[in-house]
């Protein structure tokens, strides 16, 4: 999907943080990615390897992905349930008055630098 575009965003933000902190080189970048963002992790890693290599500050930096599970909340019965398993309809009461609590995150959690 838009893995390459997202990688460019990540690189821009990481470079900014690294430069602000006078880092010599970025060794690792840890991302928090929600389960239902639609981002394909392997593709993201491929794009990362290709794009990071072009940046002296980032070349060879490892990309670490931590997945945040998707959780949906049911307004009718108050239950939280697994979004990927049951989607929009609450498995407990059958209501579709539900909303996503978490699972669409795309955060840079931390970066390891020297």
């Amino acid at each position: 999907m838009h893995e390459l575009g997202v990688v460019f965003y990540v690189i821009r933000d990481v470079k900014k943080v690294a430069e602000e902190n006078r880092a010599e080189h970025v060794e690792s970048v840890t991302l928090e990615i929600g389960e239902v963002t639609g981002v394909v992790h392997d593709l993201l890693r491929d794009c990362w390897r290709w794009a990071a290599q072009k940046e002296p500050l980032l070349a060879g930096a490892e990309l670490i992905i931590e997945e945040i599970p998707a959780v949906t909340h049911c307004e009718a019965c108050g239950e939280d349930y697994e979004t990927v398993k049951y989607a929009k309809v609450c498995p407990r009461c059958g209501s579709d008055s539900t909303y996503l609590v978490q699972g669409r995150e795309f955060n840079i959690k931390e970066i390891g630098v020297t």
Partner: protein
């Protein structure tokens, strides 16, 4: 340069805790504020490839071109066939090449607006890249978001692309002339959209014959005038 060999200095971890979309959201809000000041309404028009964006736009310009100045930015991965079609209507048009990117972000949109030379324009329309996934993630800074769902795509599309339908202010259901040939239920489609987005305005049209396009034009006219207040 070091390639993961011996680190030059001490290793340390910098906490960032920042959404990758935060920067774009900020730029988008800044652009919206500037547009509000300039009294320029920007419509972000999205759809799948082939849903009829350019045909709807040429119709829209026919209907509204006499009462307001319209400019169009055609975003495509490559080619300028769409901008050429729009230019034939007499509206100001430019082609934006995303260079392989599947969507436009607020920065690219702001650059596009500069290229369009918006002085004197009332309405700028961004024809986003034909895609229902990525454009939904990236706020372009537009005043309003619109999408076109064409009948052959099916009335269950809102179920497959919930984010796109939830961020749109208006959904234009295009190609209603082929309704008899498809298992497309307009009421079911309406229900599927409203379940994702209770505030969505839904306008069935046929851009080819012009049927219903006046309702779409009326919505747009009202939005442009509200934006200028």
């Amino acid at each position: 340069m070091s390639f993961g060999g011996v680190p030059m200095g001490d290793f340390r971890v910098l906490e960032v805790k920042q959404s990758v979309f935060a920067d774009n959201d900020r730029r988008a809000n800044e652009l919206r504020a500037r547009l509000r000041e300039k009294k320029l309404f920007l419509l972000n028009l999205m759809s799948s490839p082939g849903a009829g964006k350019t045909t709807l736009l040429t119709r829209t310009i026919e209907l509204l071109g006499g009462e307001m100045k319209i400019g169009v930015m055609e975003a495509d991965i490559d080619s300028d066939v769409d901008a050429a079609r729009i230019a034939r209507t007499g509206a100001r048009a430019i082609q934006l090449h995303t260079g392989g990117m599947c969507h436009l972000d607020a920065e690219m949109t702001a650059q596009g607006l500069e290229g369009l030379e918006t002085g004197g324009l009332d309405l700028a329309i961004l024809e986003n890249v034909g895609n229902l996934v990525c454009p939904a993630e990236f706020d372009t800074g537009a005043s309003k978001n619109a999408m076109i769902l064409s009948v052959p795509e099916g009335d269950d599309k809102p179920l497959k692309y919930p984010l796109m339908f939830s961020i749109c202010d208006v959904v234009v259901v295009n190609k209603t002339d082929v309704l008899p040939y498809f298992d497309f239920d307009l009421d079911r489609c309406r229900e599927n959209i409203l379940r994702r987005n209770p505030n969505a305005k839904i306008i069935p049209v046929c851009a080819k014959t012009g049927e219903g396009v006046d309702q779409w034009a009326a919505w747009l006219r009202e939005q442009v005038s509200l934006w200028k207040k």
